[in-house]
């Protein structure tokens, strides 16, 4: 990690007793203004059912769920191609995927949601379904650690693909 530019090692994440600090993601620059979460759809079990044709037919594609007010502020419309870029506050590394936006009301304005299940790249039924949100999460100090703290909390920026 130090080789990647991290000057603070999060020893406090490895204590025997629970501790709390502000999430690492809050140190990301302000243009990474949205929190990414991934969630499980009711049709699927983890990532091992998207290749089942009967279920894949119901929800065939990955999509980014975004609050309609947030989307309007960013100029994103229903069905637009969007990029989602995550930022590692410690190393400055960014990771990016491209998907399609769906405007909803049940997601908080400061949060965006990607379905957990997609991302299989070999199976003929599932490989066209879209990217996995796991490609945007970081492991290592400050993010997912041995104590599973801070897990899957990452700041992202979302924009329309032009």
């Amino acid at each position: 990690m130090q080789g990647m530019g991290v000057d603070q090692t999060y020893y406090q994440d490895y204590t025997a007793f629970p501790s709390w600090r502000t999430p690492t993601k809050d140190q990301s620059p302000s243009d990474y203004d949205l929190t990414l979460i991934s969630y499980k759809r009711i049709e699927f079990k983890q990532s091992r059912s998207t290749f089942f044709p009967l279920l894949n037919e119901l929800v065939p594609k990955q999509r980014l769920l975004i609050n309609s007010a947030t989307a309007a502020a960013k100029g994103i419309g229903e069905g637009d191609s969007v990029y989602v870029e995550s930022h590692n506050a410690l190393t400055g590394e960014t990771r990016s995927i491209q998907t399609v936006a769906q405007l909803v009301e049940f997601v908080r304005p400061d949060t965006v949601v990607l379905h957990h299940h997609y991302g299989l790249w070999v199976h003929p039924v599932a490989r066209e379904s879209g990217p996995t949100p796991n490609a945007l999460f970081f492991t290592g100090d400050g993010y997912v650690t041995n104590t599973a703290d801070q897990s899957f909390h990452v700041n992202v920026k979302v924009g329309k693909v032009v």
Binding site: I42, E43, L55, R63, Q102, E105, F106
Partner: protein, 236 residues
């Protein structure tokens, strides 16, 4: 005489679509054909939005408009109230699809072997043998007999004939559905309807549907948005 009907308790439904999949597996319907469909939509604006669900089987109307437009008598209503399609008579004119206000009719566009999720050379490797039987001397059950015929929900006529409940009813994990004789006040479905506030879809058209929805009627003034709206999605 029995008069089969269904009650769907919207306050219990969690939108898992087990009914949709149970129907597909039981009736061997082809890809993109949903005799049972579950609409998912959200009402209201953040932060006061609510996701709601609505199952939609065939309404098996007492005054079914689809039977009246069928030029060959393939779509008919049985004495026990089931509205069925005789697949051997159907000529595929799709008039019933136009006449139905609920959108429950699905045309079989492809050969059965070419549209059952994978393409098979000859015949199908699986299928429900009950669909080869005739009920009241007509071929009415099953969703994948011939290309070019119209199919729709049969209330699982092959299961009802055995005294079983339709597949969607039997498979629901949270007992949303009640099925039985509407004319018998002691039946499960009559009791369910009697106990709760209920509504029916588009009764102003005079179709007299036999599917009752338990719960508050949808408020037409609330903003409402479907959650499954993508073009790629096979959505009726």
């Amino acid at each position: 005489m029995v008069r089969y009907g269904m009650a769907i308790d919207l306050s219990r439904c969690m939108g898992c679509r087990a009914c949709v999949e149970a129907c597909k597996v039981e009736n061997n319907t082809p890809r993109g054909v949903f005799w049972m469909w579950l609409f998912r939509f959200e009402e209201g604006r953040y932060p006061n939005s609510k996701i709601r669900y609505l199952s939609r089987p065939c309404q098996h109307c007492d005054n079914a408009p689809c039977t009246k437009v069928c030029p060959v008598g393939a779509r008919f209503k049985r004495s026990d109230g089931l509205v069925l399609t005789d697949f051997e008579r159907c000529i595929g004119c799709r008039y019933c699809e136009v006449a139905c206000p609920y959108g429950v009719n699905y045309f079989n566009w492809k050969k059965p072997s070419k549209n059952q999720y994978y393409e098979w050379e000859e015949g199908l490797p699986y299928g429900n043998p009950d669909h080869e039987l005739k009920y009241e001397e007509r071929l009415v059950s099953g969703g994948n007999h011939f290309v070019g015929v119209m199919g729709k929900c049969t209330f699982c006529v092959h299961r009802v004939a055995k005294g079983l409940k339709p597949a969607c009813v039997a498979n629901c994990p949270v007992n949303v559905f009640s099925f039985g004789d509407l004319d018998d006040p002691e039946s499960e479905v009559s009791q369910a309807i009697a106990k709760k506030e209920h509504f029916q879809l588009q009764i102003e058209l005079g179709t007299k549907p036999k599917v009752y929805y338990l719960g508050t009627p949808l408020d037409p003034l609330k903003p409402r948005k479907a959650l499954d709206t993508f073009g790629e999605e096979v959505n009726p």
